[in-house]
Symmetry: C2
Subunit: 335 residues, 2 copies
């Protein structure tokens, strides 16, 4: 059995910088035609120069002209129209982080009133720049996403033309909200289709499955699977692949993030096949994103075959999801 | 400010065996007058000889004749009256574990029908031996305790004279159930009065706060605090102090359990004082247990003073709760 995916896209990817960038970026470039690259570096990516320079560093290590790093800007409330107009052709989206909510998000937003967000949101709205949001409050860990939904709704109502992407959604509440507003879209990760909190902390504690937003309840996973498996036009694949060196993951105070980029297409093929919806994977990993973002990625045909794929124990010192396990599909060739 | 506790008791304690027993048992013996010792060794404690031999090993390393290790037997459904009659004076209680639910519980119960449990329960009922229960199903990690409550109710109804102790309760559902049946009692740990899932996985991942049952929601902790702080006659302190060597806690696949025994009285004094109910701590850590179990522990006066206590980074290779932090009360003397 085989499957050919045309120009797969990863619409939520952490490539980091420096040595980590060199390890992880080529792995995404090999199997994807493009990826939306997150801007939470230290310091965050907040200017045209920073975007351009980061993009150059990515292209340098990828050495693949059929991989497009779609760039994002770190949301600050005080951007204005002129500033963003200058930047418009350099970025695909602006990513909003609540302050301190995840890795390198300390400079994020702490006032979610429309008044506070208005300068940037109004300019984005006029310029047609999509807004990507890490939608969590600082409440109890299992409630953070559901508690954030009123903020999504407030922005979606005030700016009905603005495309808002609910990033890495994890709950049935988020799926419900997604359906209530025409201008809401969402990315869904591989790992949130796979695991629940049980996998992280139900048996022994598994730091390599610890991520933000944390994996939720079985009924939440079911809601995500439902819209992903039907490749609902409002959802698209975003891995949120978030590499950390092994020593940051395996010590007390483990950082949040699961490294899935090099196993994503194999694992997605496996669960889509198990669900009997392999034919919907093309939409989920590419077509929907092309429509939502209005992009045409480089042509790239990724052929997967149903043959065992032994996932490496690590890529350099980064441990991937399914490390040492066997997946049922492997990428055979990229044309 | 000072506080004298008379004969404090820890009614749920893991002392392990061998080298670990040597490290941890003297720490409990120093500050407590007695403790109910859990039987989940490898193999579990299932005979009179095993109970007696384990008790001797404990007494040998404690070297304190004012510390009573109250012994428990590992619940098996097939015990009969004669067997338990033989054992009655050797043990204080029988501890029931669902199979595989926590550390060394593989030989536990997997059929909770009254028919299956009847031989042992009927004999315990006739002999007046209390039943201690680790009350969790193998369901979703946040639901396991609430899902187990019908089993508590079934046993409580069928054997209204049998004293049943809901061990280390963590949810408001358990507190509610506790109040519905006269013959239900409960232990509450220090850590479940302190933390929620947020402390384990809300920021970075904290393996030293990972335990079974896992810490739950803020409203659950509030329900536990309410009955503990008023020293409700149905609840008593049981630390569930569960030591693991540092390398078992700090590596992927971290074992469940928090080591609290040597910090328990200091930390309890602190939170009871902060709640304005310091006068209720005596009941919570001793008087209630004496009534529930009908025991008279050795006389031991433990004087605490409100002075900084720098918690050691570790005891041998076992990391305690609050390692390296400062608690506000310390044990000054034991008379």
């Amino acid at each position: 059995m085989q499957l050919t995916l045309s120009s797969p896209l990863d619409m939520h990817l952490h490539l980091r910088d420096g040595k980590m960038l060199e390890i992880v970026a080529p792995l995404s470039a090999k199997e994807f035609a493009g990826a939306l690259v997150m801007p939470n570096l230290v310091p965050p990516v907040t200017s045209k120069e920073m975007v351009q320079s980061y993009k150059e560093r990515i292209l340098q290590v990828c050495k693949d002209d059929r991989f497009t790093p779609y760039m994002s800007l770190f949301f600050l409330p005080e951007y204005d129209y002129e500033f963003l107009q200058e930047l418009k052709d350099t970025i695909l989206a602006i990513k909003l982080y609540p302050a301190g909510i995840t890795t390198n998000s300390e400079g994020g937003v702490d006032n979610f009133s429309l008044e506070a967000l208005a300068p940037t949101l109004e300019a984005m709205n006029e310029l047609g720049i999509p807004l990507c949001v890490h939608g969590e409050t600082n409440g109890f860990v299992m409630d953070r996403e559901a508690e954030f939904i009123p903020i999504y709704e407030r922005i979606a109502k005030r700016f009905p033309e603005l495309k808002i992407i609910m990033e890495h959604i994890t709950t049935k509440e988020a799926v419900d909200a997604l359906m209530r507003f025409e201008n809401l879209y969402a990315t869904i990760t591989l790992h949130h289709l796979h695991i629940t909190l049980d996998d992280v902390a139900g048996g022994l504690l598994r730091p390599h499955l610890f991520c933000k937003p944390i994996a939720k309840r079985p009924e939440d996973r079911m809601a995500l699977r439902k819209v992903a498996f039907m490749a609902h036009e409002k959802v698209m694949f975003g891995s949120d692949s978030a590499p950390h060196p092994r020593d940051k993951k395996e010590a007390p105070g483990c950082a949040a993030g699961i490294f899935t980029a090099p196993v994503a297409l194999s694992a997605l093929a496996q669960i889509f096949e198990e669900a009997g919806v392999l034919e919907n994977l093309q939409k989920f990993v590419s077509d929907n994103a092309q429509k939502i973002y209005n992009i045409t990625p480089p042509k790239k045909e990724v052929r997967l075959v149903k043959e065992p794929f032994e996932v490496p124990a690590s890529y350099a010192d980064v441990v991937p999801m399914f490390a040492g396990q066997e997946l049922k599909w492997r990428v055979e060739s990229v044309l």
